[in-house]
């Protein structure tokens, strides 16, 4: 029992425990239960009829290339609502090498002020 206690006592943060081996055992148990529950589903369906087509609220389904959500369209709501931050950041990264050295000189000047006033 003491070995189990030492195993469980590692990584104790004071508000629960986060031992990775225990976490993996719990995750495997959850997967097993999910797989068993999935096996209770209905296995009979007719191929080739309307039962296997995807339902898009009555909209027509285009070919596969147009239906894939592209990478830059994900998280559109987040980036659009915070557009003012992302525009400032995007303008900051100009690709011009003089600006890179200018940022270095600015940071050096700020550090001089901070360390000099100390």
């Amino acid at each position: 029992m003491s070995m189990l206690e030492t195993l469980l006592g590692t990584f104790q943060t004071g508000s629960g425990f986060w031992n990775p081996i225990v976490w993996i055992i719990v995750a495997a148990l959850v997967f097993l239960i999910t797989y068993i529950l999935r096996g209770f589903g209905n296995k009979k369906y007719k191929k080739g009829t309307e039962q296997v087509k995807s339902f898009l609220s009555g909209n027509p389904e285009y070919e596969k290339e147009k239906m894939h959500v592209k990478g830059s369209n994900l998280f559109w709501g987040f980036t659009e609502s915070l557009k003012w931050i992302f525009d400032i950041l995007h303008k900051m990264h100009t690709g011009n090498i003089s600006d890179y050295v200018l940022w270095f000189v600015i940071v050096m000047a700020v550090l001089f002020l901070l360390v000099g006033l100390m």
Binding site: H90, H93, T94, G95, N96, I97, S98, V101, L102, V105
Partner: protein, 119 residues
């Protein structure tokens, strides 16, 4: 006061070099600016090794009447400066050969047009 002139020259060289790298658009001028900063730092290194009224630190060819070793200047900063000059030459050669490739691809040497890339 006259012995402070090398240090004032070092500060002036570094500031002129930084100005050239930040505010000039031609890539070759940026490389010249980096060379000016290199010259400034090398001058600073070698000024540190000077003693007043001293001779070169070579034991076999001293002028008569030199006190050994207080009459000789320090040899270590001279070795450091030589190393730094050699590194500077290698970096300069690498930068210029990269500029030749960039000119063949883009046809221009303007830093703002080359740098305007994707997001």
């Amino acid at each position: 006061m006259i012995f402070n002139i090398p240090f004032i020259a070092v500060t002036a060289l570094v500031l002129i070099g930084l100005y050239t790298v930040i505010f000039r658009r031609n890539l070759i001028k940026m490389v010249i600016g980096i060379t000016i900063i290199q010259s400034g730092v090398n001058l600073f290194l070698i000024t540190l090794g000077y003693r007043e009224n001293s001779v070169a630190p070579i034991f076999t060819s001293l002028p008569p009447g030199t006190i050994v070793p207080e009459g000789m200047s320090f040899p270590v900063p001279q070795a450091l400066t030589l190393t730094s000059i050699v590194i500077g030459v290698a970096v300069l050669a690498l930068m210029l050969s990269l500029i030749i490739h960039i000119y063949r691809h883009y046809g221009t040497l303007d830093a703002r047009e080359i740098g305007g890339n994707e997001e």
